[in-house]
């Protein structure tokens, strides 16, 4: 649900990229060392900027803690997330249960900790999938042009023509029932997001590559007699990668939100698996009596998404060549 913002931000980076590829762009000396020092230079520069940004460090810290939570939830919370005692039903936060208890008397804190796994798995897997497919198809489209380009671009348009949320709802509701095992639901969910998500990455990459393709250093590389794939992998892609990196970082949050929304609609993971969206949906009938049941998973969801968005934002500023003067 968050594609347009991320895309726009990547487009801003793209703008910066265009500048660097123009007359002020790197001048090609010896091809090998030039590309090497330059690539390393960009990343070291970016790291210097990032290291001094508190907001970036905080969001990376939050992401690391959440990742650890997803890998080893038992380090953060003791007890079984699905075990509850009805005597504690809907009790508010106390020293015993920091986030209170839900209607079945289950500890909301424990459940929130265990819910991190579903969100982060979906977030990372979808990002990896869409980025890889987007990079491959986007660069193939830009580099081959002609009919291959048209076919890839039009297929992308068709997939983008279907609102993301609707596609997810339709696929999950046709392919899964309540008996479908959770790992299958999760796989289907991830694949759906990947299938409908790659076109926006491919689109950004395609336009970046199209801009970079005519840059002086690429022309020089071709004039030196380098093979097409070498020019693509050593010279064009390293320059096109930063907008994609920014876009991908920001979209992790979007994928997590999509998973939560679908789980909220009852189409995602179901018990005994725990997910934040499902917790919110479970808490919905007790909006008046036990607001904490849906408040805490919502807060965690928001913090997680915010961490990725802020990290992406910081990355965008650090990689933007116009900020480096």
């Amino acid at each position: 649900m968050s594609e347009p913002l991320a895309e726009e931000m990547a487009a801003e980076v793209l703008g910066g990229q265009t500048d660097s590829a123009g007359p002020t762009g790197p001048v090609s000396r010896g091809e090998e060392e030039a590309s090497d020092t330059r690539t390393r230079g960009v990343w070291i520069d970016a790291w210097r900027v990032l290291r001094s940004k508190p907001l970036f460090l905080i969001s990376i810290g939050v992401i690391l803690i959440l990742t650890l939570m997803a890998i080893a939830p038992s380090w953060f919370a003791s007890g079984d997330p699905n075990q509850g005692s009805l005597s504690k039903s809907l009790q508010g936060p106390s020293s015993e249960g920091w986030f209170g208890f839900d209607v079945n008397g289950r500890n909301v804190y424990t459940r929130v900790v265990y819910g991190a796994r579903a969100s982060l798995t979906v977030g990372f897997a979808c990002t990896l999938g869409t980025t890889l497919i987007g990079i491959v198809l986007g660069s193939v489209a830009a580099y081959s042009s002609g009919p291959v380009d048209s076919v890839i671009s039009r297929i992308g348009d068709m997939l983008l023509g279907i609102p993301f949320a609707l596609a997810g709802i339709i696929v999950l509701s046709t392919l899964t029932t309540f008996d479908t095992p959770n790992w299958q639901v999760e796989t289907i969910l991830i694949l759906t997001i990947i299938v409908f998500g790659w076109p926006s990455i491919a689109r950004v990459l395609r336009s970046t590559v199209l801009v970079t393709r005519n840059a002086d250093y690429v022309v020089a590389g071709k004039a030196l007699g380098l093979s097409g794939s070498r020019v693509l992998f050593r010279h064009i892609l390293p320059n096109a990668i930063s907008p994609i990196l920014v876009l991908s970082t920001m979209r992790v949050g979007g994928y997590i939100a999509t998973e939560a929304s679908l789980s909220y609609l009852g189409l995602g993971l179901h018990p005994p698996a725990v997910s934040w969206g499902q917790m919110v949906s479970d808490g919905q009938p007790y909006l008046r009596t036990g607001f904490h049941v849906l408040l805490f998973p919502s807060i965690f969801l928001a913090i997680t998404i915010l961490a990725f968005v802020l990290a992406g934002e910081a990355l965008r500023e650090a990689l933007d060549p116009t900020n480096r003067r």
């Binding site: 068709m158 279907i162 609102p163 609707l166 339709i170 928001a302």
Partner: protein, 308 residues
């Protein structure tokens, strides 16, 4: 310009056909018999399944089914749900409500995003700009159902300023809260795009030229700058229609609004494939047409975008 419209239309047709095929295929071509589970506790008789399969033309090969579906769509005969209700009746009941919700929501986001975005673009790094930038990132991070619940709880239940749910007639006064919830998450993008293009435009040559010609500051900003700012903003607004349409499914559910989003969701849960594919196809066509109009409008505003 005419050439651009023609080329854009030529692109539009295959994309529309492709999108509807994908969507229709997702609903129909996937495994599962739509009639098997429709008889409650009892197993459906073969006779029932056969009759229904024939009645809805599901015994024909898939491509034929798709063509029949398209023909019906364009002749305005939308068919009926599996329980015999006219789909067009279901839509005509739900559409006005959703239309009101969507228009209201767009109105809210355009007014807020345009005023805040342009103001913060003109006074960069000022108090409003920094607050709005940070606030928009936070709002952007909140999934729509979280915003909806918090708004419903705080404004509807605790403070009781508005009714927490919407009555079936859905008058505009009751739709303001859901529309604002829908607008909040989407607004951030529009605001940032406006801010960025205003900030960029302020240093552009055309603005200096306009000032040098001696136009008043009001005309320089209001006419010369705005024309250049409008195109990207319109573009984003068109793309965000997708988020808006997806969001209505959730927001309509939470606020109990009887609109198109709610109807689609209910149809999915009732396994009413025909209703789902018809409504979703119409939504997709609507979305694509909106973006076609946006593209043409952008080309009118900014002739450079015609060559792309």
């Amino acid at each position: 310009m005419l050439k651009f419209v023609g080329r854009r239309l030529l692109q539009f047709v295959p994309v529309m056909i492709g999108s509807t095929i994908i969507c229709w295929g997702l609903v129909w071509a996937l495994p599962g018999d739509p009639f098997r589970g429709r008889c409650g506790q009892v197993v459906c008789s073969d006779q029932y399944v056969q009759t229904m399969t024939q009645r809805y033309g599901l015994d024909q090969p898939l491509p034929v089914q798709y063509l029949v579906f398209l023909r019906n769509l364009f002749t305005g005969n939308l068919g009926e749900t599996f329980s015999g209700q006219d789909i067009s009746a279901v839509i005509s009941q739900a559409l006005p409500v959703t239309a009101r919700l969507a228009v209201l929501s767009i109105l809210i986001q355009v007014v807020l995003a345009v005023s805040i975005g342009i103001y913060s673009g003109l006074r960069q790094n000022g108090f409003v700009d920094v607050t709005a930038l940070f606030g928009s990132l936070i709002l952007f991070s909140l999934p729509v159902f979280v915003v909806a619940f918090v708004a419903q709880y705080v404004l509807g239940v605790r403070l009781a300023w508005v009714k927490p749910t919407v009555s079936p007639a859905a008058p505009i006064s009751e739709l303001i809260l859901p529309a604002a919830v829908l607008a909040i998450g989407i607004m951030a993008t529009l605001m940032r795009v406006l801010r960025a293009s205003v900030a960029e435009g302020l240093h552009a040559d055309y603005l200096r030229t306009a000032r040098a010609k001696g136009f008043s500051e009001r005309r320089v900003i209001g006419v010369h700058l705005m024309r250049n700012v409008m195109a990207p903003a319109l573009n984003v607004l068109g793309l965000e229609f997708a988020a808006l349409l997806g969001g209505t499914v959730i927001v309509e559910g939470i606020f109990n609004i009887k609109g198109v989003g709610g109807a689609i969701y209910k149809a999915i849960q009732d396994r009413e494939q025909l209703t789902v594919s018809t409504m979703v196809t119409l939504v997709i066509i609507f979305y694509l047409v909106i973006n076609l109009i946006v593209d043409v409008a952008c080309a009118q505003l900014d002739p450079r975008s015609r060559d792309v």
